[in-house]
């Protein structure tokens, strides 16, 4: 800032005071970034890099199950039907959902980088619920969906992730093995995914059966603990 001191002999009038104060005001209202030292801004000067956040976690005592009969995988990039919201009740629904809600953020806003999503789920078993078929071609698929401000859910095909069942030989007999696998998904939802505001993300499951030649059977996936987090990140100091 520039300030002209009052020198001895100067007339100290209202006009001269007003002039000096106005000049200071104008400088304070019109700062050039070059006038700010590098690394001058501390946490107290900056807006939080976090715009919004939401999370959900489930840890029921019993497993929650999803079946091929009810949640048959519809194919890549088909959001519905066939996908079921992961919840503590499983197929019937209505339990605590793996759905993270947050105050809506506009992905087209220049200050928004996007919404970081982290998801983990424990897969206990992938088996034939009727105990007829045994295979390594039963699949549990997972995906992330987000909800726009109008309430419509959108599927994220790039989030689709799957694991296949396992078998082991027990006394010469091929047996379906327990899975006990952790499935993680990490992604960033940006305006390339949706041009508008979003306010929720949720974790979905679907079931696939790649076998042929078996008698009637029904693949069942059992899940237990899991969590999902959504963090809207700021990408600008503005």
């Amino acid at each position: 800032m520039a300030y002209t001191p009052v020198e001895d002999g100067d007339s100290f009038t209202a006009a001269s005071v007003t002039s000096r104060l106005t000049a200071l005001r104008d400088d304070a209202n019109d700062i050039n970034p070059k006038g700010i030292e590098d690394k001058a801004l501390r946490k107290e000067h900056c807006l939080s890099p976090i715009l919004q956040a939401g999370a959900a976690d489930i840890s029921p005592g019993a497993v929650h199950s999803y079946t091929f009969a009810n949640d048959q995988y519809p194919g890549y990039n088909i959001g519905s039907p066939g996908w079921k919201l992961i919840n503590t009740n499983g197929d019937p629904g209505g339990g605590t959902p793996l759905q993270a809600d947050f105050t809506a953020v506009d992905l087209t806003d220049t200050k928004v980088i996007g919404v970081l999503v982290l998801f983990n789920i424990q897969v206990n078993t992938i088996v034939d619920a009727l105990a007829v078929a045994t295979s390594r071609e039963f699949d549990a698929l997972f995906a992330i969906q987000f909800q726009d401000n109008a309430g419509t859910w959108h599927h994220l095909p790039e989030s689709e992730t799957y694991i296949s069942s396992e078998t082991w030989v027990n006394g010469g007999v091929t047996t379906q093995a327990r899975m006990e696998k952790d499935v993680p998904i990490r992604l960033l939802i940006t305006q390339t995914n949706y041009k508008g505001s979003i306010k929720s993300v949720r974790a979905m499951i679907s079931v696939n059966d790649g076998t042929a030649g078996w008698a009637a059977h029904n693949v069942r996936v059992q899940l237990q603990h899991g969590n999902i987090s959504a963090i809207a990140l700021r990408g600008s100091l503005q």
Partner: protein, 223 residues
Amino acid sequence: MSDIVLPALPGTGAASDADLLSQIIYKPDNSGSPPSFEAINHLTNANLQAGQTLDRTKIRRRAAGDGRMIGQTGNIDFFYQIFPADDSMQGAYTAIPGCGIAFYLPYDARIVIFTYQIVIESQGHEAAGATNDVYTRLYLDGSRIRAAERKVPPAVTNTAPDQLDKDRDRVISGHWVCSSTSLGANSTATALTKGWHKIYYSLFSQAITVRCRIRNFKVIWFP
């Protein structure tokens, strides 16, 4: 805060007003139009020249977030003799070295993100069923985080002769998020306040041997 908007200044011939002059120099005000130079104490983007922006070189390191990471390159083996017979017993779960971290949070963080990657394989036998499972837990400041609990099945799946099935290694890439504000009705996460905190991954096993390969354990926080 935004641009400074001074009140009308006295014109020539007007009586001097000490109160007005004092308030121009300093008067706390939370309105959108600060009437004094007190606004210099908390300048914002509104005070920048039109069309100008600040880049990250102006921000002091760690002002927008910070974090810590720990990892390990070696294998760690756990033998069943070091565990009690029942995982409900006090201290049954043993912290895995290199898969936990103690850190000082310099402020009440808006968000704290924990992530960890660990590979676990058990030399237990599948025929023994759940008694040979490995159980893992995450503890944050002594509290058990149930959503992060996992099991690892036995890796020996061929009865004659015994054979380790490498398909049965388990990779756990978990996460947990804490916040000083509510994360919603479906979250059981608690706030992390300024100060020291400790988080670690632990296991309980009755298998002959459990081998852990820790990749990393990270904590990242944002104001």
